[in-house]
Amino acid sequence: MLLNQFLLLGAVLFSIGVYGVLVRRNGVLVLMSIELILNAVNINLIAFGAYNESLSGQVFALFVIAVAAAEVGVGLAIVLLLYRNRQNIDLDDVSSMRG
């Protein structure tokens, strides 16, 4: 297998995730797109770990998974708070800090 197969799959997922973050208005869907981006990173770490025959890539991928879990927990709590205060989670409406 070519190294580039995995790296290109990661690039595809990353780009689709960036598209989702930019385009989606619903807070939960934006968080899901961020998960796509983090998964693209994990594919890269695993692929380079296999390429260099090193275990560090796998350990870093595990760290990324743990950080992603923490991020989802805090992110959903923020979305929940947003819903409680404004009765919707449309991110286009969250503009009270705009200068």
Binding site: M1, L3, L7, Y19, V28, M32, V59, A70, L81
Partner: protein, 164 residues
């Protein structure tokens, strides 16, 4: 070798298709289910290169816990189940203008840098014991910091979501 490439093709196709549906579907619950497809494909690609512990962790943590969290988030914010307008910004082409050139740039850089580099063909599954040796040896302090980070994040989430 050929079997691996066929398996990779199936994985890549399902991951890409699932990701595209995830960012275009008009139903929040369906988006969570497409996320499962993407995460399972990515986990399968980890197994394909022999990273079995990370692959199993991907299934357990992501599909087991994170997707359930997303479904809870959908329920608690009372997103209407079913088709829904207004999930996508009216200026969706801006995202396309960013994402397509970004992918073109990444693909060009990758093809330029790693043209025909092969993964080592005799890659055996890396033993989970070796991974744990690496975590609890070389990366012990980052691992402990990670535990602290998770505790802090979950405490913070509880504080944020708690009713006054």
């Amino acid at each position: 070798m050929i079997a691996q490439n066929i398996a990779f093709g199936i994985i890549a196709a399902s991951a890409t298709f699932g990701a595209l549906k995830l960012v275009t579907t008009r139903n929040v619950v369906h988006a969570a289910l497409w996320l499962v497809v993407v995460l399972a494909s990515v986990g399968a690609s980890f197994l394909l290169v022999g990273a079995e512990f990370v692959g199993v962790t991907q299934f357990l943590v992501y599909i087991g816990a994170v997707v359930v969290l997303f479904l809870f988030g959908t329920m608690l914010t009372r997103a209407p189940i079913g088709k829904l307008g207004g999930l996508t910004s009216a200026r969706w082409w801006v995202g396309l203008v960013v994402a397509v050139p970004l992918f073109a740039l990444l693909a060009y850089a990758l093809l330029d840098a790693f043209g025909d580099e092969e993964l080592p063909s005799d890659a055996l599954p890396q033993r989970t014991a070796d991974v744990s040796d690496s975590i609890f040896g070389t990366y012990l302090i980052p691992f402990e910091v990670m535990g602290l980070l998770l505790t802090a994040a979950l405490t913070g989430a509880i504080v944020l979501a708690r009713k006054e």
